[in-house]
Amino acid sequence: MLEIYKLPGKTFLSSGLTKPKVAWALLMLMLTGQLALAQNQIAGSVKDDVDGSLIPGVTVLVKGTGNGTQTGMDGRFTLNGVSQESVLVFSFVGMLTKEVQVGNQTNLDVKLSSDSKVLQEVVVVGYGTQKRQDLTGAITSISSADFVKGNVVTPDQLIAGKLAGVQITSNGGAPGSGSRIRIRGGSSLSANNDPLIVVDGIPLDNSDIKGAANALSFINPNDIESFNVLKDASAAAIYGSRAANGVIIITTKKGNKKDKLRVNFGTLFSASTIAKKVNVLSSDEFKTAIGTYGTDAQKQLPGTSSTDWQDQIYRTAYSTGNNLSLTGALKSIPYRVSVEYTKQNGVLKTSDMSRTSGSLGLTPMLFKDHLKIDINVKASSTKSNFADEGAIGSAIGYDPTQPVHTENEKFGGYFQWLNPQGNIESQAPSNPLALLELKSNEAVLKRVIANVQFDYKFHFLPDLRANWNIGVDQSDTDGDEFSSPLVSASSFTNNGSTGYYTQSRKNFTNQFYLNYVKQVGIQSINVMAGVENQGFVRENENGTTYGNPDVPAIKSYFKTDYALLSYFGRVNYVLNDKYLATVTVRRDGSSRFAKQNRWGTFPSVALAWKINKEFARDDVFSDLKLRAGWGITGQQDLSTGDYPYLNAYTPGQGIKYQLGNTFVSVLRPNAYDPDIKWEQTASTNLGLDFGLSKARISGSIDFYLKKTTDLINEIDVAAGSNFSNKVTTNVGSLENKGVEVVLNYTPISTEFLTWDVSANFTYNKRKITALTKVNNPTYVGVLVESIDGGTGNYGQVHSTGFEPNAFFVYKQVYNENGTPVEGAFEDLNGDGVITELDRYRYQAAAPDYFLGFSSQVAYKKASIGFVMRSNVGNYAYNNVYSNRGTYQNLTGTGNYINNLSANVLETGFKARTDQSILSDYYVQNASFLRMDNINFGYNLDHLFKNKKIRAQLSLVAQNVFVISKYKGLDPEIATGIDKQVYPRPRTYSLGLNLNF
């Protein structure tokens, strides 16, 4: 797996802008193209260099002109207007482009060879592929050679920090943990902001999958060939309703019919440790604090031990990964088979994940290659042990003077706080180690994604293609939870518990499209039209039974579904290989809306101008393309159920009310909005791609503006008008604007030494422009993100005119030394008292800028590289400080004492009040620079006598260091609220990869 390739240029793609001047120039060029008629005619054929088969559809172009044609069904072509000096350029998807000087020849027989690198020239767009150079939208691609290296267990981590405009924030350090992916900031507020993910043409469902920390973790990262990210509306609008937050298209590796058997075996061993611990009081500091602030009874509670509870719950975790893939052709049927086994242990004791996965890809070609069938099956079984992450908070707050174990066997030999009656104190935290060792939560997730794609090139009209893709995505989760009676007071009351949870998801996709491609002279047109139907069914069940027969079992069942039906079409037009236009339209129907609101139409237009072709400066600019695009995408992925428009009732489960001598089940009307409809985002993108051949610099810059209207939003409705205080409806608007810059540079490229660097930079600003139907300046907004400490506290707010997730806090007063004054806040509204009305909006969770920087140097057999990431302008609320940073937190309501964050030594705060917990003192600058990955590779080919064997050894360190002013454990927090998170480990991996 850990092949270290030379970094080829990344592909950053886009589209063009039209102004009247450009249109005029375009007209002129059409004319000059016509005038360039010339001397001779040439004919010939184009063959595959391996099997000698004739290739239809190859583009033949006179270099530097718009004069060109395509080979016909028979693989032959005829072209007029060539001279002896003319150079013909033969290009075809999947083949190396070849240039031939005409000279004296009148008949040319050209052989094209395939090249895997050429694959990168083809970009998978929605419902088809396009040549990269012909793209008009903002599309970023990355292929396997450029993926993040090391112990990468889930696919999303392959591209972290690699792509401009794509922000990947891992949810923590748990094994197989997922990531929050945001493309250009996210265009929704309370509806889903995740991008649409499409695997081999099958759009996936965004909903959570039980038993998987990450919805993508079913894919073996080694099976992935490329990611293509559609960022602007003109690229994404073909996915219409589900594309408002961008689209990530994942293509898996395939066999090639010209391949002989190729075997790839990779093995990886890694060790992970925690990078940092939360700073808490030492046992001596703790004793001093209790001596000062405890009651007489509490002063008797400290013990004589000195326990670092964080050391007790964490460990050095070892992980292994092995994968084997075979690629080749069996009786001319290309195939790829892979198997994988990964076992990852978490740094938090008792957490681990193991995955066994297999994939099979078959791509038979029938009827003289007129019918291509693409069969993909990916199956995986993931077993996860989820540790009780409550142990992390418990370890931070647990009394350091107590031992881990005691001689009191009543509670399993673990030290526990006891009440005067000798039972576990009900409000006290549980022994952190007991939480890990006396509880279990194991889930097995089995998931299969399979699709069959028929691609038929019509016999009578080879320019026309029909493509039918049917796919299923099915998963079954089986989880079991167990809690020992000894772990907590409530568990003791219940005499332990046994729980289960199951989930079954069945999604299907059925899509069909026709594609017509025609080149007529200097014009080429590509038309696609199709229909797609998708259904999503989800069924959950869970239950808990208790060891105490008097405690009733709990059971809950849920099933839901939704469906989408869509019609879509696209026209690509290329004139003279200089002017490009793309128009798409999609009409989507969603079952989530009532009949009268069900359908939405989502159009887009994009134009591009290849400036370098215009001025024929190919020698200077390998690429210079201006792109402009506009489009509308839709959003229907509400987070609040699949039937938001229906007047329906939901039965209670496990709640009955006593009427007389019977307990009667309850039936509740659901809140609903019969008029709920599509949320829409209109986006505009302006971009420039450039490449300087000699300087070996390429890159792109994009400016974008996205305006979302009719936000699907859960808002307060007039009391008395619906069956809840909040209803999901369409209110408000949101704006994202930003800039993305990508630079790839190869400072050195010699036979022995190459050095590639690439950098990406994104600026994104998100602002809520309306939240209510009628603007009301007194409206505070929607409180979001609960914080620990005090029930019902929210740390952030969505308010009109501000960034979403702005921290909503009191303004701390500081003394002359810059130390915060306890309980003193600024009376911002000047009414003489400090109340909720004095809270203000201070900073926000999302970064203003995020950057990625990678470098890779290859010298002879060795290579070394790194990936760095940085966020700037993001803030985090340090909930560990605020919740555990006052002397009041030493003691609780009972016979126990708690340790504190060492922050208390700086502030000296005595009490935690409902106001002090919301002080802006706790909102800290969390900008950071993270060394994500340093990798070192060494080629061991020479160790093998068999020259076919390619061997590569790799050493990778991940999460090497973080530079940040942030005071908490880790500044990178997707929500901006830093509760006790599973720490991201530092990981060292050793890998070996063999190819033969």
Partner: protein, 507 residues
């Protein structure tokens, strides 16, 4: 193949867009099933007890409020008790310390949650009333049995009950009836006087439509429940409308007194896990440790009152939450040491409250328990069985007495007898005469921690000024607060959602 593809899409595998819920049912089908009616009524009653439709306040009715903290009874109790001399809480939940300090704002989550709860209950009742008209029932072929008639009357009663809380706590709030369809025009705000007239006419109508007193199932409203609500409305009429209605208050209190309810021999039986067997109860909110589990309700009341050196086992629960205590002013009402209603825990507790957050500052209260008369605990040690008496006979006694003392037509001697019946039960010496002062004190002694105090102090003119207690106004000695505090503010969020509303003065 093209045809196959097209055909598949056109016919078989095409999933149509008219999906329907799997769990639950669309409204038309729900009302086709006669069994649904009582379940919807049960939801209306349960809406007074729990926050949602799954155990432990899961799948809650109101969004953005913690499940355990949004239940009707819990929040009603908070708003009626914390701004008074009866109760103080040490927790720092947002807005909670403001209740005793009497410094709440229109964004206070507790008053906002209760405001939403009132209108939520009314909206659900309205839907039920719309769907159970004679026309709708006959169109569905469902016989309009006495059962359904009673269900309708009870739904109307619950609506009247929550509006009686609305008029008391908020004054002027939106009035919605079955004429106001879901999602239509913005609900119109009714003045306090309009609400008074509406409640008076509704409750008088219900007086005829509800089952006779003590004939309905336990936990369901009967005529006596309507009489109690009406008696309270009249007793407070002077506060609500400026017009005294003490004679009417006496009439309806008397109807309750004459309806056959009996004072429980043991005062504390009314607050125990098996208080459903007390003959004193007129209308309870029902809880059950296994079937009606919540973190609110009496589960809060009992757990939160335990801390310090108190033994949770004595209260039939598995632990204390160390939150609620009382002030020395309530303790001082019990100068008669023989009075068995002085259910305080003082061991290790200081009478004086120096620090609100310290549980041992202030006496604890041992009135509510999850043990039965026989001393055995309720079914579940975490969630309590104890029902909450919204109305009990002793209150009718005191209301009658007060109405008469305030000049309402009635029997003065009977008034004294009724009050002394309560005192005798408690082992306290009889009173020889009734005054407003000793009636307020008697209400405190008899009904403390039952959700009456705020209304009482306001009616006696001692809520904002004229009487101070520990930490009133945020100072230890207590201080006067602004007069507008007699009403809670309408929820700030509703003023945005419904721009036609006018906020209470002062907020």
């Amino acid at each position: 193949m093209v045809y196959t593809g097209a055909a598949l899409l056109a016919l078989g595998s095409c999933k149509d867009l008219d999906t329907k819920p799997y769990v639950g049912e669309v409204s038309e089908l729900v009302y086709q099933d006669p069994a649904s009616y009582k379940q919807i009524l049960a939801k209306l009653y349960a809406g007074l007890a729990v926050s949602g439709i799954k155990p432990k306040d899961d799948d809650v009715d109101l969004k953005n409020y913690d499940g355990g903290s949004q239940g009707y009874m819990r929040v009603y109790w908070y708003l009626q008790e914390f701004p008074t001399d009866e109760a103080i809480v040490g927790w720092g939940d947002p807005g909670l310390p403001d209740l005793h300090k009497m410094s709440w704002t229109a964004s206070n989550q507790w008053s906002s949650a209760f405001y939403s709860r009132i209108l939520y209950q009314a909206t659900v009742a309205n839907e039920f009333l719309r769907e159970t008209t004679d026309e709708k029932l006959s169109a569905r072929g469902i016989s309009n049995s006495d059962d359904i008639k009673n269900f309708r009357a009870e739904a109307r009663f619950i609506r009247a009950l929550v509006y009686s809380h609305g008029i008391d706590l908020f004054g002027s709030i939106p009035l919605v009836t079955e004429a106001d369809k879901v999602g239509s025009a913005l609900p119109k705000q009714a003045t306090r006087a309009e609400l008074f007239s509406y409640l008076e006419s509704e409750l008088k109508a219900l007086e005829n439509e509800l089952p006779d007193a003590r004939t309905n199932e336990y936990g369901r409203a009967d005529k006596a429940a309507a009489w109690m609500t009406l008696a309270k409305l009249y007793l407070n009429a002077e506060v609500y409308t400026g017009q005294a209605k003490y004679s009417e208050a006496a009439v309806y209190a008397k109807k309750v007194i004459d309806a056959g309810f009996v004072l429980s021999a043991d005062y504390q039986h009314n607050f125990l896990a098996d208080n459903d067997t007390s003959k004193e109860i007129i209308f309870p909110i029902n809880f059950d440790g296994n079937e009606t589990q919540t973190w609110g309700g009496t589960t809060t009341l009992i757990h939160a009152s335990i801390g310090g050196t108190m033994n949770p086992t004595d209260f039939g629960v598995d632990g204390g939450w160390g939150g609620f205590r009382t002030t020395k002013e309530l303790v001082a009402l019990f100068s008669d040491k023989a009075d068995k209603r002085a259910l305080f825990y003082s061991s290790g507790q200081n009478l004086e409250i120096d620090n609100i957050t310290t549980f041992t500052d202030g006496y604890a209260v041992t009135k509510w328990k999850n043990v039965k008369k026989d001393g055995k605990p309720g079914k579940n040690l975490t969630h309590t069985d104890t029902d909450f008496q919204l109305f009990r006979l002793a209150d009718a006694h005191l209301m009658y007495a007060e109405a008469v003392v305030r000049g309402g037509a009635g029997d003065g001697a009977l008034a004294l007898t009724l009050v002394n019946a309560l005192r005798t039960r408690a082992g306290a010496a009889k009173l020889t005469a009734l005054t407003l002062d000793n009636l307020l004190a008697e209400r405190g002694r008899e009904l403390f921690w039952e959700g009456h105090r705020r209304t009482d102090l306001i009616r006696f003119g001692k809520f904002t000024t004229g009487y101070n207690w520990a930490w009133k106004g945020g100072v230890k000695a207590g201080k006067d607060v602004e007069a507008f505090r007699t009403l809670f503010p309408l929820a700030a969020t509703d003023l945005v959602a419904n721009p036609t509303l006018k906020q209470n003065q002062g907020y």
